[in-house]
């Protein structure tokens, strides 16, 4: 049997898939995107400068995006909205900082392992308490746990209050693979190590969401009662997925600490960060695997670059969120198939472009009309 291209039959539909791992494959278009994405990721340190982007900032975007990929396991499958995922990102970051600053652990990979253990342990503990809750209670509980952690770190001398901890051992940055590096070398080795591990994590997540366990999480998200009555131990599975979800955040936070070499509570552990991680998933498209990652890159860049463009940059991000929810509820990556279909349709029948313009103008006019009527009613009352 030839490996390329593989035609497979899934649930009565015949699809072409390029196999990537046992039993899973990509459509040809997805393969093109995946290839471009990989090339982009590996060339990023060299490409970014050429087009005037900050590579370090993109790297940070990738890290927050990876945390959002973790959060998305809950959001997309168990349909639980966590407002507390900064706890695991920050937990991972502080895991690195504490081990370096207080215990003189100098190897970066050991620090990273520590980060994953600390962050995941937090997820195990918090997950135990929140797994039985849904909807607003789940959201509020995760937020509350996050806030408790933040306040503790913020007020504690062990974590050096708001100033945070340096990830330096006697003034030196950690080693990577037990070697000392120059500043640029350190960043590059850290970046490529992270990218390789991240690809493994993405692949693992992909397998997970297509596995029986992934289907069980879908079942829990879509109808908890029914899930229980087909024999799924709901709380246990939510707890487990919460832990896996937190592990992704912990890893990302650990790398963040190794990259910044300085961990403060506000950029890593504050509840606003939780909100941002959630927004990244929605911005990029929470119905897709890599959407949250793209969302992370875009949002971090937007948040930091916007302050140089406009005065009210916080309002700008708010406006982006509004635009996404109103016009692109599936997010950027999630909307790609629709966009593709639209382009293909217009290429076939260019005449329909005029229709699109007409219907768009009509929609705007109707919106304006409704708004003016409302304003008139508010000001002058109903006639």
């Amino acid at each position: 049997m030839s490996r390329f291209p593989l035609v497979e039959d899934r649930d009565g539909q015949t699809v072409v898939r390029i196999p990537l791992t046992r039993g899973l494959g990509l459509t040809p278009l997805q393969t093109v995107f995946a290839f471009l994405g990989l090339v982009g990721l590996f060339a990023l340190p060299f490409l970014a400068g050429l087009v005037g982007l900050s590579w370090e900032r993109l790297f940070r975007g990738i890290l927050f995006g990876l945390a959002a990929v973790g959060l998305n396991l809950l959001l997309r499958h168990t349909e639980l909205v966590s407002f507390g995922h900064a706890a695991f990102f920050g937990g991972g970051a502080y895991g690195v900082a504490v081990l370096a600053a207080h215990y003189n652990v100098s190897e970066g990979l050991l620090l990273l392992l520590g980060a994953v253990i600390v962050g995941t342990t937090l997820a195990v503990v918090i997950g135990y308490f929140v797994a039985g809750y849904v909807d607003i209670y789940f959201a509020l509980l995760t937020l509350a746990f996050n806030q408790v952690l933040f306040a503790t770190v913020f007020r504690s001398g062990f974590f050096n209050y708001n100033d945070g901890l340096q990830v330096r051992i006697g003034g030196d940055r950690p080693t990577l693979f037990f070697l000392e590096w120059t500043t640029l070398g350190y960043d590059l080795v850290l970046y490529y190590t992270t990218i390789v591990l991240m690809l493994v994590m993405l692949l693992a997540m992909w397998k997970l969401i297509n596995s029986p366990f992934g289907r069980a999480l879908d079942a829990i998200g879509q109808d908890r009662t029914r899930a229980r009555f087909i024999g799924i131990p709901v709380e246990k599975y939510v707890w487990l997925s919460f832990t896996i979800s937190g592990l992704y955040g912990a890893f990302a936070g650990g790398v963040y600490a190794l990259l910044r070499l300085h961990v403060q509570p506000e950029p890593t552990l504050y509840v606003f960060v939780s909100g941002e991680i959630l927004f990244m998933a929605i911005l990029g498209g929470f119905t897709t695997l890599v959407g949250p990652l793209i969302g992370g890159i875009i949002l971090v860049y937007l948040l930091e670059a916007a302050r140089f463009w406009v005065e009210y940059y916080h309002a700008l991000t708010g406006l982006v969120l509004l635009a996404i929810v109103f016009f692109m509820p599936k997010g950027i990556v999630g909307s790609l198939p629709d966009f593709n279909a639209w382009v293909a349709g217009r290429v076939r029948e260019p005449g329909r472009l005029q229709e699109d313009v007409r219907s768009a103008t009509a929609a705007v006019r109707e919106g304006v009309d409704r708004a003016t009527t409302t304003v008139r009613i508010i000001v002058f009352g109903v006639k």
């Binding site: 649930d11 539909q13 029914r226």
Partner: protein
């Protein structure tokens, strides 16, 4: 045999089930129908038996033949999902299916649970041959093969009801408790739904406990009848009671004679 032993459940002032004692599955594959007016405690009884509700007092007991003798097992404290694994499966009056999944995925998810595969994170959900064979059989038994690729929420009501029951059968039940499997189904399709369920349960000798309001269906299919009234067992016995017992008619029809 499944036994409710003096099950009591109160909601505030209301005693929904008032020390109900009743046994199901006295013979293998027995078809018991629970009837009674609204508010008689039928659904509460099913909820207590399946673990959706905890009783205020009383026990749920399963009797099982083992080495020639009968062993009793008290499952009152057992979690619903564990009861499912022990063979006690239910459906709901309102259809509970996984709305965003296809028909096949719905049945598959239940079958994966039955085969203890739901903790597998590395295999593909449709990659288990034994599970897929079960799913094929069930889709055929419930005549859902033609629509296996449809999303559950787009199905007509009758098909959703059948899908719901098919998922219950995917769990290989010993006792199946069906809360109004024909509610909301068009009159001419009710017979078809019940007939399909009866066929499947006979093939697997599943004991069924069905809440039903349509007395014609009850007369036709019941082996035994349990009549609940005001949270108590009012009558229990042959479905002929519906014809011969004047008190029963009074209770069920709410008419004084």
């Amino acid at each position: 045999m499944l036994e409710a032993r003096e099950l009591r459940k109160e909601f505030g002032e209301l005693r929904a089930t008032d020390d109900v004692s009743v046994r199901f599955g006295k013979t293998e594959g027995e078809r018991v129908f629970i009837v009674g007016p609204n508010g008689a405690g039928k659904t509460t009884l099913v909820n207590l038996l399946t673990g959706l509700l905890e009783p205020d007092r009383g026990e749920v007991v399963v009797h099982r033949e083992q080495n020639g003798s009968t062993v009793e097992r008290d499952i009152t404290e057992m979690a619903p999902e564990k009861r499912v694994k022990a063979g006690l499966v239910r459906s709901f009056q309102i259809v509970h299916v996984f709305e965003e999944m296809t028909v096949r995925e719905n049945v598959r998810t239940a079958a994966l649970s039955r085969h203890e595969k739901t903790l597998s994170m590395r295999s593909r959900d449709d990659g288990h041959g034994d599970v897929e064979r079960d799913v094929d059989d069930l889709l055929a038994d419930f005549r859902l093969e033609g629509i296996e690729g449809e999303i559950a929420e787009t199905l007509p009501h009758g098909d959703r009801k059948l899908l719901d029951v098919a998922m219950s059968f995917a769990l290989d039940p010993e006792y199946l408790l069906l809360d109004e499997p024909t509610s909301g189904v068009a009159t001419q399709e009710k017979e078809y739904v019940i007939e399909t369920i009866v066929e499947a349960s006979e093939a697997e000798s599943v004991t069924t406990v069905t809440i039903e309001h349509d007395m014609d269906l009850v007369k036709e299919y019941a082996d035994r009848l349990v009549v609940l009234h005001d949270g108590q067992v009012f009558r229990e016995g042959d479905p002929d009671l519906l014809e011969t017992d004047p008190d029963l008619r009074r209770v069920l029809l709410g008419v004084d004679e």
